[in-house]
Point group: D2
Chain length 223, copies 4
Amino acid sequence: MEHTNIDNKIQLVSHMGDDLSVVNAARKSYDKCSSEMSQRDIDLLKYMWNNKHTSPFEFVEFTFLVKCPIPIAKQWMRHRTWSYNEISRRYTDSNIEYYVPDPFRKQSEDNKQASIDEPALDDQLYHPTYWKYRRAIKSCFEAYDALLKDGVAKEQARFVLPQAVYTEFYAKTDLSNLLKFIRLRIGTDAQWEMQQYAKQLLEIIEPIVPHTVRLFKEEMNIE
Amino acid sequence: MEHTNIDNKIQLVSHMGDDLSVVNAARKSYDKCSSEMSQRDIDLLKYMWNNKHTSPFEFVEFTFLVKCPIPIAKQWMRHRTWSYNEISRRYTDSNIEYYVPDPFRKQSEDNKQASIDEPALDDQLYHPTYWKYRRAIKSCFEAYDALLKDGVAKEQARFVLPQAVYTEFYAKTDLSNLLKFIRLRIGTDAQWEMQQYAKQLLEIIEPIVPHTVRLFKEEMNIE
Amino acid sequence: MEHTNIDNKIQLVSHMGDDLSVVNAARKSYDKCSSEMSQRDIDLLKYMWNNKHTSPFEFVEFTFLVKCPIPIAKQWMRHRTWSYNEISRRYTDSNIEYYVPDPFRKQSEDNKQASIDEPALDDQLYHPTYWKYRRAIKSCFEAYDALLKDGVAKEQARFVLPQAVYTEFYAKTDLSNLLKFIRLRIGTDAQWEMQQYAKQLLEIIEPIVPHTVRLFKEEMNIE
Amino acid sequence: MEHTNIDNKIQLVSHMGDDLSVVNAARKSYDKCSSEMSQRDIDLLKYMWNNKHTSPFEFVEFTFLVKCPIPIAKQWMRHRTWSYNEISRRYTDSNIEYYVPDPFRKQSEDNKQASIDEPALDDQLYHPTYWKYRRAIKSCFEAYDALLKDGVAKEQARFVLPQAVYTEFYAKTDLSNLLKFIRLRIGTDAQWEMQQYAKQLLEIIEPIVPHTVRLFKEEMNIE
């Protein structure tokens, strides 16, 4: 199955705590009852944020279910403070989905890392290069199926799969490390696709930790 | 460039310490002079090993330069106690090498994880499936080159590259975590290619920490 | 305030997930509805346990509020996979509580690490050494108060406080790393006080992850 | 044995790599020969520093032997990216050294965390509070000895030891995490004693990684 977008590929599985948990952790208090942030709580949260007292922010936890292409997963998993559990193509050979950028973006001239917000192929759907891409992908899947049919081990057959295939994983981290992740991955020097994932993460957690997200957005100049 | 084997794909860049460093760490002693292990040192090393006092083994450090296919790199980097620095296909588009298993191994029947030590394709070099694999790979590289030529950003063009391409990375860890890695990856339930990397790591460190490796091999029943 | 026991010094602040979360993480499934473990779920949990697939167990999270003497806190915080937030005697000078073992235990003869389950002081409450202990503690607190009164910084005055004083901290970790902690700290080679904390942790989590705790107890031969 | 200063309490046990190792890690190059930094190397180092590409700085490693009072050790070991191996007062009862601040510093009025650079006790050596401190310490050691003599387990007897006692530990980390540690601990909001340790660390590594330390000092406005 082909995807030309990467929207809505993150689900929040569960979470522990909210803005108030950060404040409680800072105070080492044990207070299950209070459910609303007082002005004093908000002030303390802001004080910790501004003074980079990050430990209390580690006491809010999130579990996500993520679907993304291989190179994005590789970048993601470089973050060593998360827990991960990924599907393995050593076991699974069905329901393989993959990503086709629409549109492909132009290589930046002055910065060799980034892409720019301009389509690279005129009239992409009718462009020969686009079809070359799709034929290559198709050819890979045919070879993969043939290898499996001939009894080749899945763990080796998968070498012919393109990096465009989606992988899926559980990913869990705390609020402090999540915001470090987003800070690093939401900027324009991150891969464009990665930026979209970072934005989705921020949207997902905003209703849970609205005060912290506001402080983060102010710092990052995000509206 | 095509590789049909994965031998000699790990280089030792540098290391800090040896068996004696483990013993010194255990004793919190500061002794630069002694360069040979006494019988007392060997006995202490063995005692710590048998009683799983792993902290002192963290005081020996190794840096490797590794070249391996994408799925192996992904498994490797799941280990969160290592430091990594990887080449990025967001910048680099040249010297792309890839892996062709020779021979492809059979899927195990009774254990869906593993491959078995038997060729899957009769007379692989003349087998149509093998050529399908190679044509798919070739078709991917052609599409990749066409995308780059049309100005598509490298970070997106790479989606069409097969997972067989080699990546290259610096990887650093300590002796304790290195042996945990090898213990997990040298067994027959690990991917066959990964087992070969684990074996190479063990061979590389053996001259540096011979006493520790002997204890490890005895525990694992490796000759 | 003096404490002669270390019972009930751990409170569960909050947690995320249960046995079923482990199973869901293993399946990368997104299933909020099911609330009971089926036999298939239990079998999968057992399979992962026996095969040391520890990653899925990282998707259950616990936050505790712990009160313990300094040396116990030091041992605890050697575990680097937890999050901590501790009260600081650089700020706080009130409500200092401390621990008096009752009874003091005998030094083991044959194992220089452990204490044995036998009182060291005959008739402890009337034993001169016991009163020497209490006078020393009292003398420390008097010196501490005098230093503060004379305007000495709290961060330096505290050097005279005995290690028996309780510290208090928030501590958060996942189920997999929590069980590693308990496994290491519940054994008779751990400090006696630490064993009691490990036992309390196990009791606290048992109602939340009963199936996992059963597997753990079977492995450890705990009733 | 009493110490009235905390100078020279850190020894460098060993290290791996230097400024050039950072550059080589960034380039994923394998170059054992070059031993001097070219201008190109220096420029790359600076580029990585300014753009917070911290991974390559993880490929230089240091092992230290540290002696410090308990509260400093506790702060130190909150850093979870280090390896530690500490002497244990569960085994050892001899050669106990301790720290007496000279002079005790005044509590800051406007900032409850810090001490200020002014003596708190007039003519400290003749001040009754100072002697109260020393008597309390002495009384602790006497109680400790009496407990041991009566057969109390070392692991419990130590509860009466003051927090001023020195502990000793092996500590190992990489350049990137070491500089994060120093950045956090060298500032005036850190405990005064901790600042001295941070300064010593910086002095010790300066001859090994002079280019990196220069960049660090420029950033921190340290001369």
